[in-house]
C-alpha cells in the first residue's frame, strides 16, 4: 500500500502525497543523555502523522528538532526534498512550519484576535519603513491578513471570544486559540505537541474533530504528539512509536497496535 514516491491512499479514501519532511538517523544528546537515538522517519503531504510513546520517550525532543528548537548532533533533516541546514526556530517558522506547545505558549496579554494575527507575521512582507509610514501596501496587507485570521477564527468556532484577552480564557479554549495561531500561518507542516493534554473527554472530542477538519478542509499536513493511545489510533494515518529515545514501531495504527515491542512498552515490560 505504501509507495515511496507516490504516496498512498488511506482507509477512508484520502490521497496522501510525497514526502514533506524526512528525518534521517537523528541523534540528539543532552550532555551524556541520549534523548533521541538514531531515529529515521518521514512525514507525507496531507497525512496526519502521530508520534507516540510513554513519558520521557523523546517525543517532545523530536518535535523540537523538527521545529528547530533543538539541533541534533547527528543526522540530517530533509524538508521538501532538500537537506535543511541547522537553523533558528524563527527561520524554521518562516519556512512554513508552525507549532503549538505542550504547556501552551500564547501571548497572554493580547486578545485572541491579536494572537491569531501574530500567526500571520510570516506573511507580512512590508518593511519597517512601509509599516511606520503605513500607506497603501501595508494597509492592504493588513486587511488581507485580517481576513485569513477571521476565517480561521470562524473555522475553530472562537468568534465569541475574539476580543477577549487570552489570560482570561479557560484551558481548553487556550489550546484552541493556540491551534488557531499556528493555522493562521497557513503552514505546510503543522506540529501539535500534545494537543489534548489535560483536557476532559468532551474537550478531547472537540479537539479531535478540529484536527480532522483542519486536515480535511485545508489539506494541512499534521504531525502530532499524543500520550493517549486511543485518541491517536482514531486520528492518525501513520504512527511512529518511541520508547527511551528509540523508534520501536512505525506504520498504520493497526500495524502498530499489533506490534509486540509497542505492547511491551505500554504495558511496561522491564528493559534489560
Amino acid at each position: 500500500m505504501l509507495d515511496q514516491a507516490e504516496g498512498y491512499v488511506t482507509a477512508d479514501g484520502r490521497k496522501i502525497g510525497g514526502v514533506v519532511m524526512e528525518m534521517k538517523n537523528i541523534t540528539l544528546r543532552f550532555g551524556g543523555v541520549e534523548a533521541i537515538k538514531d531515529i529515521s522517519f518521514d512525514i507525507r503531504e496531507g497525512e496526519i502523522r502521530a508520534i507516540i510513546g510513554p513519558n520521557g520517550a523523546g517525543k517532545s525532543s523530536m518535535l523540537n528538532v523538527i521545529s528547530g528548537f533543538y539541533i541534533p548532533q547527528v543526522g540530517q533533516v530533509f524538508y521538501k526534498g532538500a537537506p535543511r541546514p541547522p537553523m533558528k526556530p524563527f527561520e524554521v517558522a518562516r519556512q512554513g512550519i508552525a507549532r503549538t506547545f505542550q504547556n501552551i505558549a500564547l501571548f497572554e496579554g493580547m486578545t485572541v484576535l491579536d494572537n491569531v494575527m501574530t500567526g500571520r507575521l510570516t506573511h507580512m512582507k512590508t518593511g519597517l519603513w512601509g509599516q511606520a509610514i503605513w500607506k497603501g501596501k501595508a494597509e492592504a496587507e493588513e486587511t488581507a491578513n485580517r481576513e485569513v485570521a477571521e476565517r480561521i477564527i470562524d473555522f475553530l468556532e472562537i468568534q465569541a471570544i475574539r476580543k477577549t484577552p487570552v489570560a482570561r480564557l479557560p484551558y481548553g479554549l487556550k489550546k484552541r486559540v493556540e491551534l488557531a495561531r499556528a493555522l493562521a500561518a497557513e503552514p505546510s507542516l503543522l506540529l501539535l505537541d500534545e494537543p489534548m493534554a489535560g483536557m476532559n473527554v468532551e474537550e478531547k472530542e472537540d479537539m479531535s474533530r478540529f484536527i480532522l477538519d483542519v486536515n480535511d478542509e485545508f489539506g494541512t499536513t499534521i504531525a502530532l504528539i499524543e500520550h493517549d493511545m486511543g485518541v491517536v489510533m482514531d486520528l492518525s494515518d501513520r504512527v511512529v512509536v518511541m520508547d527511551y529515545g528509540k523508534k520501536i514501531g512505525d506504520g498504520s495504527p493497526d500495524e502498530v497496535r499489533n506490534n509486540q515491542d509497542v505492547i511491551d512498552a505500554y504495558l511496561g515490560v522491564s528493559h534489560d
Partner: protein, 343 residues
C-alpha cells in the same frame, strides 16, 4: 481666588512639565524591560550620550579629538563647520541605532538566558563604559544645547505673552510658563502617541509585543528575537535622545544628566515596570507631587501654620519616599502586572 491658590496652580503646571521629562526617561526603561526583561541602568547615560553626540555633531567637533591628538601629536578639535539641527538629529539617531546594534551584538547576545541580576550588572557596566566613551569622544566640558528648543524659536515667542495675558485677565495674575516646557510637552505627547500607534498597529509593533509576552511563542511564529531586541534598544535610544535634548536644553549638556536615571526609578515603582501608560502617569505624579510638596512645605503660611515648622529641599527625597510607600503597599505599581508567584 487667593494668591496662594494661583501660585500653587502655577507650581502644579511646572510640575507637570518636569514630570514629562521623568516620564520620558522611564519610558525608555519600560520599553527595554518589557521586551527583554533587562533592567537598563544605562538609560540615563544613553540620554547623556545622545545629547553629547547631538551637540558634538552640530558644532562640528571631531570625535575622539583628545585621543587622536595625543596619539598623533596633531592639534585638531573642530572640522570647522556647523551642521543644521535637523541633520544633526538624524545623524544622532543613526548613531543610537548603531549603539543598539553593538549593545545587542557584543553584550546581550552572549547573555541570553542568564539571570536577571547578571543582565542588570551588565547594564551597570554598560553605563560606565558609555559614560567613558562619551567623555573620550566629545570631552567633558559643559556644553550648550542649541536646538530650536533652547531659544524658543520653534514656538513663536508670542505664546508665552499670550498665556501670560490670558491668565492675567482670568485671575488677575500672569502665569509664567517656559516656552521650552511647552515644546517639550508637545513633543513628548507626539512621541508617546507615535509609539502607541506603532506598537498596536504595525507588524514590528505586534512582534515587539509578542516578544515582550513570550519568547518561545514569538520564535514559533517566526519572530527573530535578535532583530526585535535591536529594534527595542534603538527605540529606547531614540527616546533617550529626546529626553537628552530636553534636559540638555534646560540645564546644559553635562555629566550630571546621567543622574536623571535615578529619578526615573521612583517613577517606575509608581507606574509599574511593564506599563507604558504607567511610566507616563508615574512621571507626572512624581513631577507634580514633588513640586507641590516643596511648595507647601517651604511656605511659612501653610506648613508653618499647620505643623509649626517648614522644610526645604524636599524635592531631593520626596520621590524616593513615595516610591518606598508604594513598594510596601503596592509593589507592582499603579499599572504593572500583578506579581503572582506560584509555589
Amino acid at each position: 481666588m487667593s494668591d496662594q491658590l494661583i501660585y500653587a496652580s502655577e507650581v502644579f503646571l511646572n510640575g507637570l512639565m518636569a514630570g514629562v521629562l521623568y516620564a520620558l526617561v522611564a519610558l525608555g526603561f519600560v520599553l527595554i524591560f518589557k521586551a527583554s526583561g533587562i533592567f537598563n541602568f544605562a538609560q540615563g547615560v544613553m540620554a547623556l550620550f545622545a545629547a553629547m553626540t547631538l551637540v558634538g555633531i552640530q558644532s562640528g567637533q571631531v570625535p575622539f579629538a583628545h585621543l587622536i591628538n595625543a596619539v598623533f601629536g596633531t592639534k585638531i578639535h573642530h572640522f570647522g563647520w556647523e551642521v543644521h539641527s535637523i541633520i544633526a538629529i538624524i545623524l544622532t539617531v543613526l548613531v543610537m541605532i548603531l549603539l543598539a546594534w553593538m549593545v545587542q551584538r557584543f553584550i546581550f547576545r552572549h547573555l541570553v538566558g542568564q539571570e536577571p541580576i547578571i543582565l542588570f550588572m551588565a547594564t551597570i557596566g554598560l553605563a560606565y563604559l558609555l559614560e567613558g566613551v562619551a567623555d573620550l569622544m566629545w570631552g567633558s566640558e559643559i556644553k550648550k544645547l542649541d536646538v530650536c528648543l533652547a531659544e524658543g524659536t520653534c514656538l513663536p515667542q508670542g505664546i508665552n505673552l499670550a498665556i501670560d495675558e490670558a491668565t492675567f485677565n482670568l485671575f488677575g495674575y500672569g502665569f509664567f510658563i517656559d516656552n521650552l516646557d511647552i515644546t517639550a510637552t508637545i513633543i513628548a505627547i507626539l512621541l508617546v502617541t507615535a509609539l502607541v500607534i506603532f506598537s498596536q498597529y504595525t507588524k514590528q509593533g505586534r512582534a515587539m509585543r509578542a516578544v515582550a509576552d513570550d519568547h518561545q511563542a514569538a520564535l514559533s511564529v517566526g519572530v527573530s528575537l535578535n532583530y526585535i531586541w535591536i529594534l527595542v534598544w534603538s527605540v529606547a535610544g531614540f527616546v533617550a535622545l529626546v529626553a537628552g535634548i530636553m534636559w540638555g536644553a534646560k540645564s546644559g549638556v553635562q555629566f550630571s544628566l546621567s543622574l536623571i536615571a535615578l529619578k526615573a526609578l521612583p517613577v517606575l515603582m509608581l507606574g509599574g515596570f511593564t506599563s507604558i501608560p504607567g511610566a507616563i502617569v508615574g512621571g507626572l505624579i512624581i513631577g507634580v507631587g514633588e513640586k507641590l510638596f516643596e511648595f507647601f512645605m517651604s511656605s511659612g503660611d501653610l506648613a508653618g501654620a499647620l505643623f509649626g515648622f517648614t522644610m526645604n529641599a524636599t524635592e531631593n527625597w520626596f520621590a524616593y519616599v513615595l516610591a518606598l510607600i508604594f513598594l510596601v503597599f503596592r509593589p507592582q505599581g499603579l499599572f504593572g502586572e500583578k506579581i503572582i508567584e506560584r509555589v
